[in-house]
C-alpha cells in the first residue's frame, strides 16, 4: 500500500506510474466488481472520483480496497452533529487515517424523504447540487430505515450543508435512541389496495415527532412503518416497533363479470389451484361449471391473496382503516420478533383520528421510557414486563384478536384483599 498516492501525503498531487493521468489510485480488487451485468457501485464511485477529483473519494476507495484485502472494516463512530440536534449524522472517522489520510472523515447525513419515497426532479437536483458542493457526492438510496443517505462529509462542512438542505425543505432523520425515520409503501398514490392514507399519516406522525427524532432521549430506537394493506410492502410487521397496516372491516367487493373474465382467460383449474385452494380459511367457493365465486366474509382473514390474483374483480371493502401491531424487531438481543396485534381496526381518515393515534403513541412511548431497560425495544419490554401490565398502563382494552388462542397455562392471579 506504500506506493499509493495520498497515503501519507497531502493527497492533492496527480501522479505517475502505470495509472498515469488518473486521479484515483489503483484498486484492483474493487475493479473486479465492475464486471458482471448488474449496475456496479464501484464504477459509479470511480467515475465520480475522476470527474470531481475529490480527495475524500480517493481516500475512501483506498480504504475500501484495503478492507477487501484484509477482510476487516476500519470506521469508528463519534459525535458529529449540527446545532440543536443530537442525532441524524452518522459519524465516521477512519481508524487507519495514518495510512489513508484522505479518508480521515466520512460522515453521513440521514435525511427524511417524502413518505413513499416519492420525488420531483427539482427536489432531487437540489439535493445533488448541495451535496456535490459540500460532500463526496455519494448518495445511498435508501438506508434500511428509509433515509436518503448522503454519505461522506467532513465535520467542518456539516452545519453549512445542513442549513442549505434545511432551507430547501429537508430535515435530518433519526439515529440511536430516537424516533427513527419512518417508511411507507407506495400507498394510495398508486395502489388500488390501499386501505388508508398511509402517506398522510406518516407525514403527520413523523412531523409531530420531529423533536424526538433529533434528540436521543429513549432507551433505544422507536421505529414507525406504514403499509396501506396487509401485503405490507413497507415490511412494517417485521421492521417496526409500531406498525400501522391497512385493512377493512366489511365485505370484499366483487365484480363477478371480471371473475368470469379471469376464468375465461385462465381456466377453471387455475381458479381452484390459485384462488379457491389457496385461501387460508377456505372462505372462497366456486361451483363447477359456473363463472362466479362466493366469499364467506365472516371467515375471511383479510390476507390479500385473492385480491392479489384478481385485482380487477376484487377490491377491499368500503369500511377501511388500519390495524396497530407493536413490537416488531430483528435479531438483537432476544431474537426476531414480529409485531403483535394490538388494535385490530382504527379509522385514520380525519385529523382528529390521527391526533388520537398520536396521543396513544405518546402514552406508549412514556410507558416504554419508564419501564424499559437500556437498549431494550418496546416489544422486548412488553414481553419482559407482561402484555397485561402493558395494556393496563397504556389503556388499550384486551381483545381476542391479540392472541392466536387463549393461554395454555393457568399462572395468573386475581385482585384479592389480604385482610380477609
Amino acid at each position: 500500500m506504500e506506493d499509493l498516492k495520498g497515503a501519507g501525503s497531502s493527497g492533492d498531487e496527480k501522479d505517475t506510474g502505470d495509472n498515469k493521468g488518473k486521479f484515483l489510485n489503483p484498486t484492483p480488487i474493487l475493479d473486479e466488481l465492475e464486471g458482471g451485468k448488474w449496475p456496479s457501485f464501484i464504477t459509479g464511485f470511480k467515475e465520480l472520483g475522476e470527474r470531481t477529483e475529490k480527495p475524500m473519494i480517493r481516500g475512501v476507495l483506498d480504504q475500501l480496497e484495503y478492507s477487501y484485502k484484509t477482510k476487516m472494516g476500519y470506521w469508528k463512530g463519534g459525535l458529529v452533529t449540527v446545532k440543536g440536534y443530537g442525532a441524524g449524522i452518522i459519524t465516521r472517522f477512519s481508524m487507519i487515517k495514518d495510512k489513508f489520510p484522505e479518508a480521515t472523515e466520512f460522515h453521513t447525513f440521514r435525511i427524511q424523504p417524502a413518505p413513499g419515497l416519492h420525488y420531483s426532479t427539482k427536489m432531487l437536483r437540489e439535493v445533488c447540487d448541495i451535496w456535490e458542493k459540500y460532500g463526496s457526492g455519494f448518495i445511498n438510496m435508501h438506508g434500511q430505515s428509509g433515509n436518503l443517505q448522503l454519505i461522506g462529509i467532513e465535520q467542518a462542512k456539516t452545519q453549512e450543508c445542513f442549513d442549505e438542505l434545511n432551507q430547501a425543505g429537508w430535515d435530518l432523520g433519526g439515529a440511536g435512541a430516537t424516533v427513527r425515520t419512518a417508511a411507507s409503501c407506495v400507498g394510495p398514490a398508486r395502489c388500488e389496495q390501499a386501505c388508508f392514507d398511509n402517506l398522510k399519516v406518516h407525514e403527520k406522525v413523523l412531523k409531530n415527532y420531529a423533536g424526538m427524532t433529533h434528540r436521543p432521549e429513549f432507551n433505544y430506537k422507536m421505529k414507525f412503518k406504514f403499509s396501506a394493506c396487509p401485503n405490507d410492502c413497507a415490511n412494517a410487521i417485521m421492521r417496526a416497533d409500531v406498525a400501522l397496516i391497512g385493512t377493512w372491516r366489511d365485505s370484499i367487493q366483487i365484480e363477478q363479470e371480471y371473475v368470469t373474465e379471469w376464468i375465461d382467460d385462465n381456466g377453471e383449474d387455475a381458479l381452484f389451484d390459485q384462488v379457491v385452494n389457496m385461501c387460508p380459511t377456505k372462505a372462497i367457493s366456486h361451483k363447477i361449471g359456473t363463472s362466479t365465486i362466493e366469499i364467506d366474509n365472516k371467515n375471511c382473514v383479510r390476507c390479500m391473496h385473492c385480491l392479489n390474483v384478481l385485482p380487477k374483480a376484487l377490491s377491499p371493502g368500503k369500511e377501511r382503516g388500519a390495524s396497530l401491531l407493536m413490537g416488531g424487531k430483528n435479531t438483537l438481543k432476544v431474537g426476531v420478533n414480529l409485531g403483535a396485534m394490538m388494535i385490530p381496526f382504527m379509522k385514520l381518515d380525519t385529523d382528529e383520528e390521527v391526533e388520537e393515534f398520536i396521543e396513544l403513541m405518546d402514552e406508549i412511548i412514556d410507558w416504554w421510557d419508564e419501564a424499559g431497560l437500556d437498549h431494550e425495544r418496546v416489544g422486548e419490554t412488553i414481553e419482559r414486563v407482561g402484555m397485561k401490565q402493558f395494556l393496563d398502563a397504556v389503556g388499550i382494552e384486551a381483545n381476542i384478536d391479540m392472541v392466536v388462542r387463549p393461554r395454555d397455562n393457568p399462572y395468573y392471579k386475581k385482585q384479592y384483599d389480604s385482610a380477609v
Binding site: 480488487i29 474493487l30 458482471g36 449496475p39 457501485f41 459509479g44 465520480l48 470527474r51 475500501l64 477487501y68 477482510k71 472494516g73 470506521w75 469508528k76 440543536g84 424523504p113 417524502a114 413518505p115 413513499g116 419515497l117 420525488y119 420531483s120 426532479t121 427539482k122 427536489m123 445533488c128 448518495i139 445511498n140 438510496m141 435508501h142 434500511q144 428509509g146 434545511n166 429537508w170 430535515d171 419512518a182 398508486r190 388500488e192 390501499a194 398522510k200 407525514e203 412531523k207 409531530n208 396487509p230 401485503n231 405490507d232 415490511n235 417485521m238 421492521r239 389451484d273 390474483v309 385485482p311 380487477k312 430483528n330 438483537l332 438481543k333 426476531v336 414480529l338 437500556d374 437498549h375
Partner: protein, 360 residues
C-alpha cells in the same frame, strides 16, 4: 482556517419532506381512487383509475450506493419521460410513472443504455435489500454492497424474467444484527468465536456498565488487567451475537476467517395466504470471500433453482417448504442439516417437532 461566517439560518424541524410537490399530476388526480393494475411485461405495469386514467410504471434496478451523477441521470430521464417525477421502492429500484404508453419502450432503452436493468416486478427476483458494510458501517464483517452486486450479477436474468413461482426477496447483512432484514433468502454474517478484547484501550474507549448490560446472556464481567479496568467474557456462556461490539469497539467480534456467512430462508412480511414468518437457518460456515463470494453464490443459486423447479404458482419460499417439508427442501437444495440448525436459545421449543409427523 478562517473564522466561520455568522449563521443566519434558523433551523426548521420539519421531519419528512412534504409529500406535496413530489407526486406526478396523474397520481395527484387519482390519489386513493385507483381501480386495478396489470403487469404488461417484466418491469412494466399499468394502473387504471376509477376516472379511466391509465398510469404506466417502469421499474429498474440501481446500485443503491448511487452518486450525484447517477441521480442526475435519473432526473434527466424523469424529466424526459415522466414529467419530472420518480419514486423508489424499498428494495432500491427506481420507478418512472407516466400516462403515455408510447414512452415505455424508449424509456426502457435509455435505462438499459445507462446500465440499469428493467424488471423486478411480480414473480421474479427483486433487488437485494442490504446494509452498508465496509464502505461505511462501524461494525461490519463484510461489504454487503459487494455481496449484493455479486449475487445480482448471477441472478440478473431472474430479475428480468417472470419464471419464479412468486416474488423472491433477498437480503444481505454484514453482521448478525441483520439490518438487511428478513427475506425469502437472506445472506447474513455469522460470527463464530467470542470477541477478542483489547484490554489496553478498553477502559478509555468504553463505558463499562453499558457493555456489561448489552450482553443478552450475562457473559460479560468487570475485571482488572495490568492494573487497568477492563472486561472479561465468559466464553462458555457467550453466544457470539456481537451486541457488545456495538457498545464497545475494544471487544472486536469481527475476524477475517471466523466471521463467516450463514444463509437463511423463508422470511416473509406479507400476510398473503400464510402468516408473516421469520426465516430459518439452512447453510452456515460459508467463507467471507471477497470480491465475488463464489461459495455464497453457489448456495443461493441451488436454493433458487430448487424453488423455481418445485414451487407452485403464488407459493412463496416458506410456503413451498411448508408443503414439501424441510427434509425434502434440504435434499432439493443439496444442503446438509447440522446440529447448529436446532435452536438452543430462548423459545427453542417453539421449533421442536412435538408430534409424530415425519416424512420418510
Amino acid at each position: 482556517m478562517n473564522a466561520p461566517l455568522e449563521r443566519t439560518w434558523k433551523t426548521i424541524e420539519s421531519g419528512p419532506h412534504n409529500l406535496e410537490g413530489s407526486l406526478h399530476p396523474v397520481v395527484v388526480k387519482n390519489y386513493g381512487k385507483w381501480k386495478y393494475h396489470k403487469l404488461i411485461k417484466p418491469g412494466v405495469m399499468v394502473h387504471y383509475g376509477l376516472s379511466g386514467d391509465a398510469l404506466y410504471t417502469v421499474r429498474a434496478g440501481t446500485p443503491r450506493q448511487n452518486t450525484v451523477d447517477l441521480v442526475r441521470g435519473l432526473c434527466d430521464l424523469a424529466d424526459q419521460y415522466a414529467d419530472g417525477f420518480m419514486r423508489f421502492t424499498i428494495r432500491n429500484s427506481v420507478e418512472f410513472m407516466f400516462a403515455e404508453e408510447s414512452r415505455i419502450d424508449p424509456l426502457i432503452k435509455d435505462l438499459e443504455d445507462m446500465g440499469l436493468p428493467v424488471g423486478g416486478i411480480a414473480n421474479c427476483v427483486a433487488p437485494i435489500a442490504h446494509t452498508q458494510g465496509w464502505l461505511h458501517c462501524d461494525i461490519p464483517a463484510t461489504d454487503a454492497s459487494g455481496v449484493a452486486k455479486g449475487v445480482m450479477d448471477n441472478l440478473y436474468d431472474e430479475f428480468k424474467t417472470l419464471e419464479m413461482p412468486n416474488k423472491v426477496r433477498l437480503s444481505t447483512s454484514c453482521c448478525s444484527i441483520n439490518c438487511g432484514g428478513q427475506a425469502d433468502v437472506a445472506i447474513v454474517v455469522k460470527h463464530t468465536r467470542p470477541p477478542r478484547i483489547d484490554h489496553a484501550k478498553l477502559s478509555t474507549l468504553c463505558e463499562l456498565p453499558k457493555a456489561v448490560a448489552r450482553c443478552p446472556v450475562a457473559a460479560i464481567r468487570p475485571t482488572i488487567v495490568n492494573n487497568k479496568r477492563s472486561l472479561m467474557v465468559d466464553e462458555e456462556k457467550c453466544i457470539v451475537c456481537g451486541a457488545c461490539f456495538g457498545a464497545c469497539p475494544s471487544m472486536e467480534i469481527n475476524h477475517p476467517e471466523h466471521s463467516q456467512f450463514a444463509i437463511w430462508v423463508g422470511g416473509k412480511n406479507s400476510n398473503a395466504r400464510s402468516k408473516p414468518q421469520s426465516m430459518s437457518l439452512v447453510a452456515e460456515g460459508i467463507p467471507n470471500n471477497p470480491p465475488h463470494w463464489p461459495e455464497v453464490n453457489a448456495v443461493v443459486g441451488r436454493i433458487l433453482k430448487a424453488y423455481k423447479a418445485g414451487g407452485k404458482p403464488w407459493e412463496r419460499m416458506n410456503e413451498w417448504i411448508d408443503r414439501i417439508g424441510w427434509k425434502r427442501f434440504f435434499e432439493e437444495a443439496e444442503l446438509t442439516f447440522e446440529v447448529d440448525m436446532i435452536d438452543s436459545y430462548r423459545h427453542a421449543r417453539t421449533t421442536f417437532n412435538q408430534s409424530m409427523h415425519v416424512r420418510f
